[in-house]
């Protein structure tokens, strides 16, 4: 018998497999959503509010409709169905009526033969605004007039906080929140607004089906929830709206909310022509939600032996003008506020407010990033206060299976926090490089600002964690369909799953799972669409690998069983087709008064990571070069190890960006740096090599023991980078992104 090596593309679970989209993406042949084309298509354009807060008295479209090439000019009056939508609460207008609540809010839409005609026509729409004083200070939002009439997020089982402009308040009381200890350290921490900064702008194509329905091709993270938001606003049945995944140029949470979907569909149905919409870069910065900026007050009480006794935290999140997923972000920020540490007593209060600042919602790390930055700064401070090594202090307090979170949830699955800490701490730290060296290898990089003058080296460490899958009672199931057909002497399979490939590599996960379960090379993946398979849930919350593998495994095993019943063979023309839905174990809400878990627990499982960072800082100019990053991450089981390393590097870079440079700046609610000229993301000179260790401790409930990998690197890297900067500079550095001013001591 001879064996031949399997082709790289045909790998099974656990093998490094070349991504099926790798070559087209690298060579530029991959079709992104902005590349879509249909014969006879029109171009859509959005008119947006120039005000952060204004009443809208009147919208006059009379001049715009008559302009050359213009086929439609639509306002809120033309929305056929529900006037508002939202991921969790329908508080966001399809097109603003009565009032604009943030800078860039859509007010009217235009379809024309040429994008320039659409843009010019939109300039001729006359909107009578009456500007209002914007609510821009989250600390005072609850003292201002409500931005929304009624209380859109009230009555959903949340804590009763009836102050104006509260999206959600969570209070977690655990043990004795007044417990005293031998030492106490406290601090106030702030995070600016981070943007997902995906390279592919919001874009898509809507095509009317001539029967009153519409097909929307769009870059998104969850096809079915898009459909379920779009259809009611169009006044259509869900089956009349089919959402198809177009090439996604990055997501990171920023495509969970709708962008062009309803607008393009409205224009297409109105004109009976295909309509394409593509945001430009500036529009993209106002056209999606951002990471919540936060202010966090924290006190850690501990005994001299380093054991944490009590953590008291107050967290304020600015949700911006609409709820988006703020309520869930609030839950995460509070549930993970104490870090992956066992604490007997805690008091965590977290409030997210509405303001007229840019709307915030999902972004990689989802509330845990903000908390991690604060609790890790506190752990460093405590280590210094106690004279205990920062790694040792973390080990002494590391959460383990059997321990409980401050929400009372017992950790039942895999939770190798101590192991990731030990593995990351054991990675050898590189020796300092000799001087002189190329300025590219010094802080300031190509700016040539130092030959070594003012440069100090620092080493930082941080640990972070978060949950996998949705929580608090949400059943985010995933469906998959497997079709087996007779093919020559053997079999061929086609898999359908609506999981969104957002660059994370889920298409390979699906194929690897199907090939493993069917023991078959000849497996193809159908395109992701609402028209051929049930919901996959969102490519979010580090859940898609787990859930897609679970669903494909179920469907493939059902198909295999059916095949066995038929004697293990399919003749020509014979086929087996099965669809199965995979559910993670159920979760239950938090008690609104105590913040304690009820029933099964609020979360499905946890993932953690530890990271060590070496940085060089020019302390006279406030410039940084991160030299090296070593990390160990709890991944359960690496389905495609190469892709896991990729996620760790990319996620680390995104957290490093928040630590050093990424911030949406605003003035009176208006974004002042909506471009890649002034919203800076790390370049290859800013991002060091990453030594990553995968800690594979299988999750008992999950297929193959997988967990998720996308978020932990982003949760932990912001904290770890700033820890290194503190070590180098001796300064507190309580705000990210860290500004050069703070490093040189100007603030």
């Amino acid at each position: 018998m001879t064996t031949t090596a399997r082709r790289l593309e045909l790998g099974r679970v656990g093998e490094s497999v070349k991504r099926i989209d790798a070559i087209p993406k690298v060579t530029g042949e991959f079709a992104y959503s902005s590349d879509l084309f249909a014969a006879g298509m029109l171009w859509g354009h959005t008119l947006r509010s120039p005000h952060a807060h204004a009443l809208i008295a009147e919208i006059d479209i009379s001049e715009a409709v008559g302009m050359t090439g213009v086929h439609a000019v639509l306002t809120h009056a033309d929305v056929p169905g529900a006037k508002t939508y939202g991921l969790e609460f329908p508080d966001q207008p399809v097109l603003a009526f009565d009032r604009a609540r943030y800078f860039g809010e859509p007010v009217a839409i235009v379809a024309a033969e040429h994008p320039e005609q659409a843009r010019r026509a939109s300039e001729q729409i006359k909107v009578a605004y009456q500007p209002l004083e914007p609510v821009v200070e989250p600390e005072h939002a609850t003292e201002r007039e409500p931005i929304h009439e009624g209380r859109p997020t009230a009555g959903h089982g949340f804590r009763d906080d009836d102050r104006p402009n509260v999206v959600r308040t969570i209070v977690i009381r655990h043990g004795d929140p007044d417990a005293q200890a031998e030492v106490s350290v406290s601090g106030v921490y702030e995070l600016g607004i981070q943007d997902q900064a995906f390279l592919g702008p919001e874009s898509g194509l809507a095509i009317p089906d001539a029967e009153g329905g519409v097909d929307v091709y769009v870059a998104t993270q969850w096809l079915h929830i898009d459909r379920d938001q779009v259809a009611p606003c169009l006044g259509l049945e869900p089956e009349q709206v089919r959402i198809h995944l177009a090439g996604v140029g990055g997501a990171f949470g920023g495509r969970e909310d709708l962008s062009i979907q309803i607008h393009a569909a409205m224009l297409a149905l109105h004109t009976d022509r295909p309509v394409k919409m593509v945001y430009n870069r500036e529009e993209s910065f106002v056209g999606h939600i951002h990471r919540h900026p936060a202010k966090i007050w924290m006190e850690h009480r501990a005994n001299r032996d380093g054991k944490l006794v009590n953590v008291r935290a107050k967290i304020l999140l600015d949700g911006g003008a609409y709820a988006s997923s703020s309520a869930a972000v609030t839950a995460n920020a509070s549930a993970f506020a104490c870090g992956p540490y066992a604490v007997e007593n805690a008091l965590v209060e977290c409030t997210c407010v509405y303001t007229n600042n840019p709307p915030c919602g999902a972004m990689r790390g989802f509330g845990a990033v903000q908390s991690c930055f604060a609790h890790e700064a506190q752990m460093d401070k405590l280590a210094s206060e106690l004279g205990i090594d920062p790694v040792e202090l973390r080990l002494r307090n590391a959460l383990a299976p059997g321990d409980s979170l401050p929400t009372g949830q017992r950790i039942t699955g895999s939770f190798p926090a101590a192991e990731v800490i030990r593995r990351a701490a054991a990675l050898p730290v590189p020796e300092p490089e000799e001087l002189p060296r190329d300025p590219l290898r010094l802080p300031g990089g190509s700016g040539n600002t130092t030959r070594g003058e003012g440069v100090k080296r620092g080493v930082g460490f941080a640990v972070g964690f978060k949950n996998v899958c949705y929580s608090e009672g949400f059943d985010d199931s995933t469906a998959a369909r497997v079709r087996l057909t007779g093919s020559g002497d053997g079999l061929a399979a086609e898999v359908h799953c609506a999981a969104a490939e957002v660059g994370q590599g889920v298409v390979n996960v699906i194929l690897q799972t199907a090939r493993t379960e069917l023991d078959l090379d000849d497996v193809v993946l159908g395109s992701a669409t609402t028209s051929s398979v049930g919901s996959a849930g969102s490519a979010s919350a580090s859940r898609m690998t787990w859930m897609a593998a679970g669903a494909v495994q179920l469907a493939a095993r059902a198909a295999r069983d059916e095949l066995a019943r038929r004697g293990g063979r399919l003749g020509p023309g014979e086929e087996i087709e099965v669809e199965r839905v995979y559910h993670h174990r159920p979760t239950t809400p938090l008690d609104p008064e105590t913040g304690q878990v009820s029933g099964d627990g609020a979360h499905v499982a946890y993932i953690c990571a530890a990271m060590r960072v070496v940085a060089e800082v020019d302390v006279e100019l406030g410039l940084t070069r991160v030299v090296w990053i070593g990390t160990a991450q709890d991944v359960g089981k690496a389905v495609n190890p190469q892709a896991v390393y990729g996620q760790i590097e990319g996620g680390t870079a995104q957290g490093l960006g928040l630590a050093l440079m990424e911030e949406i700046q605003t003035r009176d609610g208006l974004i002042t740096n909506a471009s890649f000229t002034d919203y800076l993301i790390p370049t290859t000179l800013d991002m060091p090599p990453v030594d990553a260790e995968l800690v594979e401790e299988p999750e008992p409930d999950a297929p193959y023991g997988v967990k998720g990998v996308g978020e932990p690197p982003t949760v932990v890297s912001t904290a770890a980078v700033v820890s290194a900067l503190r070590d180098a500079t001796g300064r507190e550095l309580t705000r990210v992104p860290v500004r050069p001013d703070e490093i040189v001591g100007l603030d």
């Binding site: 190509s446 700016g447 040539n448 100019l621 000229t677 000179l685 050069p740 100007l746």
Partner: protein, 263 residues
């Protein structure tokens, strides 16, 4: 939008005289950003990419004549880099390789941004800017050519032909501060030379006032020069940095540049 593409300088000047509203474009690294972001919709573009007279550089009596179409990549090539090291170092800080292959010194002069990376090196090289129109030619010292933020002395019918720069008469350097280590618009920049022929130090800053500014001092009066530079600057607070930081950084850069060039 019309695109006019002259083949010679004479033709370009004639077109510019006929169409003073035509916006000159060379690499497009500034103009195209304005167009793409919808901040400008000029009636016409004057595409100078086919005008051979604007390309390259030449040597004249110890000076260098840099064509308006000289790219940053060309300014980094050995011969020019040896004669004008600060300009080469500044060019190295501009964008990524693709931008440096397209962006030109003439574009930097035309845009006249206080953040133009080529401007401080040209200032320490005593640059004169050669302008031409159908009316004739004139030479304007760079210090007079830059009249304000994104404003220069160019008349509506004129084009920038070249910059005449003195070769380095001693060590030079250029430094640029930005919040990331490549591809960044300067928060503050500095070019400095120790001029052994004139026994003076010449320093020019960028992004620290309405225009890039030049400060000189005899070599014998170097004490307190860093503070003098910082005092000469008129920085503002903006999205890229604070005025206080710019002043502080300028003083640090000056001290380091002097030390670097006196070694």
């Amino acid at each position: 939008m019309e695109v006019l593409t002259p083949r010679t300088l004479d033709e370009a000047l004639r077109l510019k005289a006929e169409r003073p509203d035509a916006v000159p474009i060379q690499g497009g690294t500034d103009v195209m950003v304005e167009l793409n972001f919808d901040r400008a919709r000029p009636a016409a573009l004057l595409n100078l990419n086919e005008v051979g007279e604007l390309r390259g550089w030449s040597r004249e009596n110890g000076s260098f004549l840099l064509g308006a179409g000289l790219t940053y990549s060309e300014a980094m090539e050995t011969q020019l880099a040896e004669a004008l090291p600060a300009l080469a170092e500044a060019s190295r800080t501009v964008g990524g390789p693709q931008i440096r292959n397209r962006g030109t010194v003439g574009g930097n002069l035309g845009t006249a941004s206080p953040a133009g990376d080529a401007l401080p090196p040209l200032l320490i090289g005593d640059a004169e800017i050669e302008l031409a129109s159908v009316r004739g030619e004139r030479k304007v010292p760079l210090t007079e050519f830059l009249t304000g933020p994104k404003r220069n002395a160019l008349a509506d019918d004129e084009l920038i032909v070249a910059a005449r720069v003195r070769a380095a008469a001693g060590p030079q350097t250029f430094m640029k501060v930005g919040p990331r280590n490549a591809m960044v618009i300067s928060v503050v920049s500095l070019a400095l030379t120790v001029d052994r022929e004139r026994d003076e130090v010449r320093a020019a800053f960028g992004s620290a006032g309405p225009v890039a500014g030049l400060v000189t001092t005899p070599l014998t009066e170097l004490d307190g020069f860093a503070e003098r530079i910082a005092a000469a600057a008129r920085p503002i607070d903006d999205v890229r940095g604070s005025a206080a930081y710019r002043r502080r950084a300028l003083s640090v850069l000056t001290a380091r540049a002097v030390e670097r060039c006196l070694q």
